[in-house]
Structures are given as C-alpha cells and as structure tokens.
C-alpha cells in the first residue's frame, strides 16, 4: 500500500514507540500535521518552538526515552536552536522534525526557507535533509538510532514539503538503520580494566567523581557497589545529582564552583580520582594546572573524545560505564587505609556547618536556601524538580537532597535560562505520577513563561516556585564579587506573578515570610492542578562557597559568618 511521506513519518514514530510529541504547526509542515490525526500520538501544542525542544529534552531526561519536537521551516526551525544546543551539551536524546520548503525551491531564498541542517550541524549528533518520500522512513529510523546510541544527543530531520506529500511503498526491513560498526570499535591505546583495578586497590585516598553518565548508562547500582566494596567516597557533578542517593553515607555531595567546600578539598587531597561518566568541565575543575595534583586518574566515558581532553589521565577507558564498572567489581577490595581517609574528609567539613545558612538563627528574612530546604522537607525529598539557571539552581542543588535517579533535571552544560518550565512540562508528560516542581528565577521565568498556557491547555499538575529576588541574581553576584558592585543591567522587574498565573487560570500565592512557606507549599501540593508560588526572597544574597572562574579549586569564597549581622539591618 502506498503512503504519503507524511504518513510514513508518523508510522516511523509509532514504530519507534513514540506516544507524545511537542510541536507547533506552519506551512511547510502542514502535510505532516494533517496526517497526524490518523495516528495514536498525543501532540502538545507549545507556545514557542524553543519550548518544544526543552519539553522533548525534559521528557527524555525524565524517562530515558527519546523526546520528539516538531516545527515548521524558517522561524519555526530557528526557534529550536537553543533547545537543540542545550540537549547537545547535556547528552539528551531528542529528535527534531522540521518542515522544509519544496525541494525545487531549496537554495532560492523561498518564503520561510532557512538552511537548518547547516545551522544545526555543529549542535546535533547528526542531521538529515529529506527530499523524497522514499527517504523518510530510513532517515527517521536512523535518527532515533543515532540519538540514543553511544553518547546520546539531538538529531534533526528536515523534510521538504513535497517529500511529505509524495507517496511511495515502504519496505520497513530495508529501512532499518545500518550504522557503521566502526562507531563502537575499540581503538588501540584503550585503557585496561586491570590497570584501573590495580590503581583502585592501591590507593589510600581514592575518590569517585560521578556524572550524568551514571544515569545515561543506568549504572546507579554499580557505582554504589563500587563505593561500598572499596569504601570509596563519591563526589557528584551537577548533572550527577540523584545518580547516587544524597542520603548514602559515602556520598559527599556536589563538587565544583558551588560545590561543598569539603568536597573540593577532598578532590585536591585525593591520591586517586575515579571519574565516571563526567567530563572535567571547567565549572568542576577550576584552574587545571593546580587541579588534583596529588591524584592518579582513571576516566571512563563512552565518548572517547572526552578522554584526555581537559585533564590528562593515567587510565582512559572508552566504554559504557555500567559494563566497565561491572568488570571491576569482583576485584575491588577495601584496604585498611580507607577509614583514615574517610575520617580526614569528615574533618574537612570543619566550620562548614556553622557557616551553613540553614543553621543560622532566623532573622525574619526569607532566604532562597530556606525555601528550597522547606520544599525538600515538605515533598519528602521525592519530587521531580526541574530547575532553571542561576542562583536558585545552585541553591536547589545544595539544599534539595535528591535520593532518586533522574529526579533533578537542569540545564548544566549550556546553562540555558528559560529551560525549567518547558522541560518540566516534558517531564510531567513522561512521568505523570511524579510530583513535579519547577524551581525558577524571576529572570529565567520571564523568558518562557508563555508555556503556562501549555500547562493549562494540557491540564498538567505542575507546581512552580519562583525564587524572586528582583535581580538576575547570579550575574549580580559576579558583579558584587568581581565588578565592584556595579549592577549593570541586573536589577529586573517583573509582573505580579500571582496575578499573572491567575490570568492563565493557575492557582497562585505570594510568600514573603518563612512562616508562610509551609502553608503555600502544602496548598499547592493538595491541589490536583497547576499552582504557582512567588517566593519574594532576600534580594542580595549570594551562593557560597564559590570558586571564582579559573581559580584554584580549593580557594573558595566562603559565606561571611555569621550572616545575620550583614543581612539583618
């Protein structure tokens, strides 16, 4: 039976197990939209195509499945660019489908023509320009295979309007992807498991650095087994949060620019770093020339190009993390020296607890850290939290203790403001049973708040906590520390967020005192539809500790202690 390219597109998606797509129609994708009605797929109408890509991304991160976004040619496609780059940096598997002008018009600057495959070439794993109905199925099926294979990432399929309209027979067997095996073939010079095991068992002060790869490879259990067997403490990256339960006694917490002070000190004192599914980003290493100078290094990553990139390592293993660690496990032992190392790390905690804003007396101000801590307590640490980018993102990472894998979704590599609300929509649709909280700044929220309409149209029970400090807070903090408090373009106004939410038909509250946090959060939780809380917090608070960009990892700016004196007046 002959089908149109548009029908083949949907049938390909259904065959890939797709049940939900996020999109926005337009001329060049109209044939595909017309055919969509014949297939069992939920289409979520977004308010901006950037939102569609973040939703697909949030969907993928929450579920581990491939997320799908769809848009028209020209402006529809270019609006996707930020979301595609976000997914690329954080290894999130999404497939973006775009309409393109008719194949005869390509290159002619036709109405709404853009070279989207050219534009997205450096921010996709791969992309396709499909100009005939025959090529639709092979391209779409291969796109899914590429998106989820190896190190996951975004793939774009640009389909001309005439390819959607033309008809042909499909041979589904012949259309099956046939990716070159070369992709996975081991190259000479690969590190050896035996070398890794020898280093691990000989180390006196080993430390595991766990990243996003733990979740992407499904190695949560293996990592904990490795830590327990060898009595090796674990530090996590921002995207590694949740991969190891925060409550696990060997989990020290987050490393890096806003990591815990003792974690960064432990990295600097370690004699072995076991880096698992992380990529030594500059936000976690600080100054590379003084980074972990005492340590031998083992690095496991499925992407060979990450090995020996920022940090030279002793054993580099390009392999799926789970199978790599699995191979080590039976051989790992815990030498007697480990107890002393764990005790040493404990002593590094020093005055951290005293400096912690949680332990300072209530001075009547509402601090973002308190809001997050209360949110953690009231949701029993079980919510799926989606954060935006800025100070609130770091406070969430510090004060919401995630025990579950994939329970924190945040834009790490690209740091995309405006990510949280749309990504949360995708996450909620992927995991309808999860209690979803958006933690977002007043700045970032205003970038994509139009998606509140999507929340309402799709009847989603999503809770939004705006950490409203009246500033582009993280940038203000840099200005405070490094630019002499010259607050150029960082004070930001906003609407009355509660009234705005109400205008969308969303229940809302405004909270200015800590005493009111409980009731507002509980009310939002009870409500089985969307709710928004505007937390008006201390305006000029800063995130501590902080390793200034490029500084030595152990040279952190600490919270002036006690804070009460500076903030109360």
């Amino acid at each position: 039976m002959k089908r149109t390219g548009a029908q083949i597109l949907w049938e390909s998606l259904v065959r890939e197990g797709v049940t939900d797509v996020f999109g926005y129609p337009g001329g060049a994708i109209l044939p595909a939209y017309d055919a969509m009605l014949g297939y069992p797929i939920r289409h979520v109408l977004v308010r901006h195509e950037q939102g569609a890509t973040h939703m697909a991304d949030g969907y993928a991160r929450a579920s581990g499945k491939v997320g799908v976004a769809i848009a028209t040619s020209g402006p529809g496609a270019t609006n996707m660019v930020t979301g595609i780059a976000t997914a690329m940096m954080d290894s999130s598997p999404i497939v973006c489908i775009t309409g393109q002008v008719g194949s005869k018009l390509i290159g002619s600057d036709a109405f709404q023509e853009t070279d989207i495959t050219g534009i997205t070439l450096p921010i996709t794993k791969h992309n396709y320009l499909v100009t005939s109905a025959e090529d639709v199925a092979p391209a779409v099926l291969e796109a899914f295979a590429v998106a989820r294979s190896g190190r996951p990432g975004p793939v774009l399929v640009d389909i001309t309007k005439d390819a959607q309209q033309a008809s042909c027979e499909v041979d589904w067997d012949a259309a099956r992807p046939n990716l070159s095996e070369a992709l996975d073939e081991a190259l000479p010079g690969d590190g050896d498991a035996r070398d890794a095991i020898a280093l691990i068992n000989a180390a006196e002060r080993p430390l595991i650095l766990a990243g996003h790869g733990v979740m992407l490879s499904g190695a949560e259990r293996e990592i904990v087994a490795l830590a327990e067997r060898g009595q090796i403490p674990i530090a996590v990256t921002l995207l590694g949060i949740g991969g190891v339960a925060a409550a696990h006694p060997l989990n020290l917490g987050m490393m890096g620019m806003h990591g815990e002070a003792w974690v960064n000190h432990a990295i600097q004192e370690a004699d072995l770093l076991i880096a698992l599914g992380m990529r030594f980003d500059d936000r976690v290493t600080g100054n590379l020339t003084t980074y972990a100078r005492e340590a031998r290094k083992i690095h496991v990553d499925i992407d060979r190009a990450e090995l020996n990139k920022n940090v030279r390592v002793d054993v580099a293993i390009a392999k799926d993390l789970r199978s790599a660690v699995d191979e080590w496990l039976p051989h790992v032992v815990a030498p007697g020296t480990r107890a002393a190392w764990l005790a040493r790390i404990d002593s590094l905690k020093g005055d951290s607890a005293v400096r912690d804003i949680q332990n300072l007396p209530d001075d009547g101000h509402l601090y973002a850290a308190h809001v997050i801590n209360d949110l953690w307590r009231l949701t029993h640490g079980e919510a799926l939290v989606v954060t935006d980018v800025g100070q609130h993102q770091m406070w969430e990472a510090q004060y919401y203790k995630h025990n579950r894998s994939r329970s924190l979704i945040t834009s790490g590599g690209l740091g995309t403001m405006g990510f949280a609300l749309p990504a949360a929509i995708g996450a909620k649709i992927a995991c309808p049973e999860s209690e979803v909280w958006v933690v977002v700044g007043d700045g970032g929220f205003q970038m994509t708040m139009a998606e509140l309409a999507t929340v309402v149209q799709e009847k989603l029970d999503i809770n939004v906590a705006i950490i409203n400090n009246g500033y582009l807070g993280m940038v203000r903090q840099w200005q405070e520390f490094f630019y002499d408090k010259r607050y150029a373009a960082t004070p930001i106004s906003g609407p009355n967020f509660a009234k705005l939410a109400e205008a969308f038909g969303i229940a809302a509250a405004t909270v200015t005192r800590r005493a009111d946090v409980n009731d507002a959060v509980e009310a939002a939780r009870r409500l089985k539809r969307a709710a928004l809380i505007d937390f008006q917090v201390e305006q000029e608070d800063s995130v501590y500790p902080m390793v200034p960009a490029g500084a030595d990892l152990h040279k952190m700016i600490r919270r002036p202690s006690p804070i009460v004196e500076t903030a109360a007046d």
Partner: protein, 187 residues
Amino acid sequence: MLHTFAVYVDNKPGVLNRVSSLFRRRAFNIESLTVGHTETPGVSRMTVVVDTDEYGARRLEAHLYKLVPCRRVDNITAAASIARDLALIKVAATGEARTHVMQLVDVYRARIVDVSPESLVIETTGTEDKIDSLLEVLRPYGVVEMVRTGRVAMARGASSARRSVAPPSRPAPVAAESGGDVSHGSV
C-alpha cells in the same frame, strides 16, 4: 607536529562540510585536505594533514568516528607510508632561460605539459619537500601561476587492510547539503 589521517567516508552530499566543520568547530587547523574515490564504490577517502599533538590527534580521531558518514579513520603519521603532492607550475621563460628551465625539469624528473611562446607549464609529483625545492629553483625565472593538490598518502605494505570498508548497503538518506559532492571537493 603534523599528523596525517586517512579518513573513509560515505560519498554523499555534505560530507566534506561535516568533516571540515568538525575541524573548525574543534579549533584544529587543516594544513591540507584532499578527497577522491576509493576502490570501494560509494566510499571516498580523504587525506587530512593537521598540526596537533598526540592527544589532539587521538581526540580528532575519536571525533571523526562520531560523524555518522565516517567509516574508518587511520592515523598514518607513524606508519611507513608514501606521501605525494602534485603541482602544476607555470613559468615565464623565453630564450636562454627556457633552456635552463628545461634542464631543471629534467633534473627533478618533472614534465613539461604545455608550451607557449611566453611560458611553460610544468607538472611534478613527489613529496612536498621535492616540490618546494623545485619551486625554489624555478622562482628566479618567474613563476606566474601555481596550483598544488595537497598531500595524498597511503601506508606501505598490507597494513592499510587492517579493517576493510564495506560499500554502503542501501542508498542512505541524503545528508544535509551544504558542502557539495565530496568526490570532487578539496579544501
């Protein structure tokens, strides 16, 4: 140091662009890049020369493998290999100078492929050094135009058969077009 890669790619539109874009994106500087057909239908071979260190070369190899149309990469820098460059050199030579130029062409085992009253066109194949040196001796006579292919290279003996590259099994979807047909391109 200079690293020479033999890169086997599917011969599809846009592939040259993907490869050159990768080098640009990752801040590697291409010294020379040539492309042509191979013994396998549908597969093209690039010879790419890049100035980088050993770690850079490994990472580049890894990045190339991540390109979907890339089938195989060989770093043949250390392997015993034959590298050749082809040049066409137009020299303005008349009268006595012309005789001198023709003697030099003989010494260098180059060939004269075009003669006009005002000039000669010389064709030469060899290592880059040999061509550089020929160019040096011709310069005083007036080199008016020159074109070089850039380096093509091949490992000696049977070593390049380390892994064979199978032809594409089906007409895969057209990859994004922006770089032209690789089999005719050269950067």
